[in-house]
Amino acid sequence: MKNDHLIEVDNLIMWFPVTAGVLQKRVADVKAVDGISFFIKSGETLGLVGESGCGKTTTGRCILQLYEGMKGSILFEGIDLTQLKREQMRRMRRNMQLIFQDPYASLDPRMTAGDIIGEPLKVHNLAKGKEYKDQVAELFRMVELEPYMADRYPHEFSGGQRQRIGIARALAVRPKFIVCDEPVSALDVSIQAQIITLLERLRGELNLTYLFIAHDLSVVRNISDRVAVMYLGKLAEVTSSDELYRNPLHPYTIALLSAVPIPDPVIDRTRERILLTGDVPSPMFPPSGCNFHPRCHMAIEQCSVEQPELRLVGEEHWVACHRV
């Protein structure tokens, strides 16, 4: 393992069984994540993008060991999380946290903001008494909220403020790594900018590493150092944010980028547009060979037969495509 890799994911597979009938017989699997490998460097923001059903949320949760039945390995600072016993993993969780998409569903409506943010401190026995109160107040300030709001309940806050509470909760244990699962998708445009700016500032100040999961490519482009593009459970392309935008190689990435309008009509008109036909297939029945081939304008015979490997084609630029 290289020194600067905080996390290494090796051949991660996560299938969810689909059962039917009175006896709950397993009839198919939702191949949410179907064999992916990548690393996250210490201190970087890795963006994970893809459309619904591509497996990005499942990937984030697998890294945090939130599912049973995953295959493959997850190395955190060289330690394989999949091999840890429950108590060891529980202690490891101090290093990794999760920020959720829905600021309305992810906060317990019957707990005060102060209790929500302070709960991790109690769970991990990190502070008591005055020190606990001080740390909770500090966490409020870190996310630009006022400590006097600690006695309020979630419904008394706006969406953006609730997301800040979620962020403060994640920071309580002083983690090294945070999975941000669509943290701004449910927020208004002007509030999104506030939260993105906050996350970026905290990353610098607290030396955090982020896995930033989102479907909005413009947001990912802005906040990420490197980006991984997923399609139907597999990685299509991984490279730096700059390179992905300037020189996308995978046909899916190219189509995805062209589908994102730029809020500037003059510039947007000059761009080439590639329209994909059809819809994303079900992850229960992924196509043979390359899972993108039925919608790909560059597909050849090999594509329907053989799955392309993710391979290095340039400096820190990986692509899974036979045509590249």
Binding site: E51, S158, S190, Q194, T197, D216, L217, N222, A259, I262
Partner: protein, 333 residues
């Protein structure tokens, strides 16, 4: 290429739609005025609770009473004031001369009726077609919006289609009677970006062929840049700026528009480019600040802004905005 003409299809004048709730009077739409010409596409843009959806429902008189009432204004559609129309007259207009598609196709399509039945309903009702004629036309419409294997799939139920396909069915239903005006309320928010691109291309293509006027309601400034001729920016129930698309993006003249455009991350911007932040929170429509509703968040707020509500005034060719600030003092980002 635009199909816009100079013939007005819809004119909204000083529309006011209020809701009476436990929190008090909520002024969802508070003096909205704009118009749309035949063949034109207009984007109605703003964040949540700016009144854009409520204004669309007001046009079709779909505001639930209680708790909502249209308390004032005019909605002139092809010369008639819809606010003076009877319910029977409105029923003749909805789905026929003015059509609407909604954000969530799964909740807008009837789950227990086949697609065939739902599309042909409008045809039988408004175009007096018999069963055979409406079936033939239904299949033609489904093919037009790109439903594969339309003959067979017309007999399927909505749940058997993906979200993108359901949205196409809604577009087929909306256009079945060749409406003069189509209102699309956040048509792409709940679908993936590649499907969004497909749907909007269909809409643009159909607009070119049929000359329908289209209002696209959205908070997505990218969608608006690509697909509309003119943009109306709303804030707290009112129009704050309106201009042709190129002009609005190239030369915005209201502090809110400037702030909004600068706060949106762009695909072509530099990585880690600092986003300009509009400080503060979106307004509470039950407790609006006095004067201009935007002033608590505005970098340029002056004493006058706290006292008086600015009216729309002309600042360029077809370009209007509601603000007291001298245009020359507005710093562009």
């Amino acid at each position: 290429m635009t199909t816009a003409t100079n013939e007005k299809v819809l004119e909204v004048n000083n529309l006011k739609t209020y809701f009476y709730t436990q929190e008090g009077e909520v002024k969802a739409v508070d003096g909205l005025s704009y118009y749309i010409n035949k063949g034109e596409s207009v984007g109605l843009v703003g964040e949540s609770a700016c009144g854009k959806s409520v204004s669309a429902l007001s046009i079709l008189r779909l505001i639930p009473y209680p708790p909502g009432i249209i308390v004032g204004g005019e909605i002139i559609f092809q010369g008639e004031d819809l606010l003076k129309s009877t319910e029977a007259e409105m029923r003749h207009i909805r789905g026929n001369r003015i059509a609407m598609i909604f954000q969530e196709p799964t909740t807008s399509l009837n789950p227990v009726l086949t697609v065939k039945r739902q599309v042909s309903e409008a045809l039988e009702l408004h175009r007096s077609m018999d069963k055979d004629a409406s079936l033939e036309e239904t299949i033609r419409l489904l093919k037009l919006v790109g439903i594969p294997d339309a003959e067979r799939r017309a007999g399927d139920y909505p749940f058997q289609f993906s979200g993108g396909m359901q949205q196409r069915i809604m577009i087929a239903m909306a256009l079945s009677c060749d409406p003069a005006l189509l209102i699309a309320d956040e048509p792409t928010t709940s679908v993936d970006v590649t499907v969004q691109a497909q749907l909007l291309e269909i809409l643009a293509d159909l607009r070119e062929r049929l000359g329908t006027a289209v209002i696209i309601i959205t908070h997505n400034l990218g969608v608006v840049a690509r697909y509309v001729d003119r943009v109306n920016v709303m804030y707290a129930g009112r129009l704050v700026e309106t201009a042709p698309t190129d002009e609005l993006y190239g030369d915005p003249k209201h502090p809110y528009t400037v702030g909004l455009l600068a706060s949106v991350p762009r695909l072509d911007s530099e990585r880690k480019e600092t986003l300009r932040v509009i400080q503060g929170l979106p307004p509470n429509l039950a407790r609006l600040p006095g004067g201009c509703s935007f002033h608590p968040r505005c970098d340029y707020a002056m004493p006058q802004c706290r006292e008086e509500m600015p009216e729309l005034e002309k600042v360029g060719e077809n370009h209007f905005r509601a603000c007291f600030l001298d245009v020359k003092k507005l710093k562009k980002e």
